[in-house]
């Protein structure tokens, strides 16, 4: 994967296989977006360039899911949350290896990546959050 790749969701997940958390920065307004996209949601510019995000961020909110869709029932209950890596760059995902009672808004979390590749679309490993 190189910075020349198109700013697509599929390429975001390809970068995850290289353990890289990538967003796009707008060449005009400088704002960072994730998921990546070709049109800046803030100013409409087409000049979107890959930028690597810090691997650590702050927990914005969370929940522990008890009733899950069939494909996640083996994991249930599991924690999910939204982590802000830098202003405007937030991602949702599973939070692993932290007891629900220890979760707290504002706590620092790191991003990590699954090593196994699932057989379903989008066929890229998931990222997840854990203690940094």
């Amino acid at each position: 994967m190189s910075a020349a790749q198109a700013p697509t969701i599929e390429n975001f997940y390809r970068f995850c296989t290289e353990r890289k958390l990538m967003g796009v920065a707008c060449g005009e307004c400088k704002k960072v977006s994730v998921p990546p996209r070709s049109l800046c949601p803030h100013c409409g510019s087409n000049e979107m360039n890959w930028t690597e995000l810090p691997g650590k961020g702050k927990l914005v909110t969370y929940t522990v899911i008890h009733v899950s869709p069939a494909q996640f029932q083996e994991l249930s209950p599991y924690a999910v949350g939204i982590v802000e890596f830098e202003k405007g760059a937030r991602l949702p995902g599973m939070i692993r290896d932290i007891k629900p009672e220890d979760l707290e808004i504002g706590m620092e979390l790191g991003i990590d990546f699954e090593t196994t590749v699932p057989a379903e679309w989008p066929r890229w490993p998931r990222y997840f959050f854990r203690k940094p």
């Binding site: 969701i9 997940y13 998921p35 914005v60 909110t61 969370y62 929940t63 522990v64 899911i65 008890h66 009733v67 899950s68 869709p69 069939a70 494909q71 996640f72 029932q73 994991l75 209950p77 599991y78 999910v80 949350g81 939204i82 405007g88 937030r90 991602l91 949702p92 995902g93 599973m94 629900p100 808004i105 989008p122 998931r126 997840f128």
Partner: protein, 390 residues
């Protein structure tokens, strides 16, 4: 107050609930039959010239292309039929499209409704189907459910404003009290705050009784222009304001998750158009898909200040007889939430309230009503304002 955008001359709602053995089209026909029966001056087959239907999903019945299907079962072929999809706001959006049709003059009298058949699938499957209205590659892919999305709003709202689980529970208790008075409601069951707090966890802090019901049902209204309305009924209800706004599909892409900005924007459009504000509203139906959503709706609609929705429910202000009664029908919580049917079902309740037909749950002297219908994690919001006609 402004001129009407369009006028409701009749309304019909199917019984909501587990309607075993009935297809969506049959539920729609049940609602349409009631709307036709309640408007004896109208010849539906002859005079209705179009149909708008909101429906979320093809998955439940493995059935797409449902607009001609419900038009057929409502006896309206070969009139043009249009389907809108905006998740749980599908029929709220259908109403907007119908208003445009009436305003443009392209249609004179239309049937506008919504329908969803859901209970034929197991809960885990319904959870997955409803989740399809969230972002696939970032939310669904990571196991985030719809209750999970609203639970994350609740976690943040509680941390920022001190909203409590007891306050959320009181929304459920109130709406169940109202649902007991609505024979069309899915559940007629009194519950207590402790029942809610001790119900099983779905997505913390939300528990089973914080969640709306998985229901089958259909609803519809007959909409026309104010001039024709005079010939059809002595008890018209005018739609005097309508607003809609969109937000990101994923909750995570928003800077603000403790205020439902999209509802604020839609409400501002509707209030400005109607030339009223929150203090003029006598009765409202809001989208209580989860108890936290009703608290956030109070704030976004201006029924109270941002962050004080929990206090408003503590004061009993939104009960029937309170300052601003909300969800007199029982809401999605007790009346049920067949998702495509919800937007027009809210309009049906306001129609009954403003025409004095709401029986034991009647808000005395109600003249101005409001509905707020949201889709997904509030990626769509539709707000409409209604006035008792002359």
């Amino acid at each position: 107050m402004s001129n009407p955008l369009a006028t409701i001359v009749s309304a019909g709602v199917s019984k909501f609930g587990v309607r075993e053995g009935l297809y969506a089209r049959e539920l729609f026909a049940e609602a349409a039959s009631e709307a036709f029966r309640e408007c004896p001056n109208l010849s539906p087959r002859k005079e209705i010239d179009g149909l708008f239907v909101g429906q979320m999903s093809e998955c439940y019945e493995h059935q797409a292309h449902t607009a001609p299907m419900v038009a057929d079962w409502a006896g309206l072929l070969p009139k043009p039929a249009y389907r809108t999809e905006a998740a749980c706001a599908s029929s709220g959006v259908a109403m907007r499209c119908a208003i445009f049709a009436i305003q443009s003059g392209m249609h004179d009298i239309v049937l506008v409704g919504g329908v969803e058949k859901m209970t034929n699938r197991p809960t885990a499957t319904v959870t997955e189907y409803l989740g399809m209205a969230s972002d696939y590659p970032f939310e669904q892919w990571h196991g985030i459910t719809f209750p999970g999305i609203f639970a994350m709003m609740a976690t943040a709202h509680m941390a920022k404003y001190g909203t409590t689980e007891e306050q959320l529970a009181k929304v459920a208790v109130k709406n169940h009290e109202n649902g007991i008075l609505n024979p069309k409601a899915h559940l007629q069951k009194k519950i207590t705050v402790s029942d809610v707090l001790s119900s099983r966890p779905v997505a913390s802090p939300l528990k089973l009784y914080d969640c709306s019901l998985i229901s089958d049902g259909a609803s519809c209204i007959i909409l026309t222009n104010p001039k024709l309305a005079k010939k059809l009924t002595d008890t018209p209800v005018d739609i005097v304001g309508s607003g809609q706004a969109q937000d990101t599909l994923g909750l995570f892409e928003r800077d603000e998750i403790t205020a439902m900005n999209v509802t604020k924007l839609a409400a501002k459009q509707a209030y400005d158009m109607a030339k009223v504000d929150a203090k003029h509203i006598d009765v409202a139906e809001v989208h209580d898909c989860f108890t936290i959503a009703e608290i956030m709706a109070y704030e976004a609609l201006g029924f109270c200040r941002q962050g004080t929705g929990g206090k408003l429910i503590d004061e009993d202000a939104t009960k029937i007889g309170g300052k601003i009664p909300v969800n007199t029908s029982g809401g999605l919580k007790s009346k049920g939430h067949p998702v495509g049917a919800t937007g027009t079902a809210q309009a049906c309740e306001i129609y009954l309230q403003l025409t004095g037909q709401a029986r034991e749950r009647q808000v005395k002297g109600a003249e101005i009503g409001l509905t707020q219908n949201i889709g997904g994690s509030a990626s769509t919001a539709v707000v409409q304002i209604y006035r008792r006609g002359d």
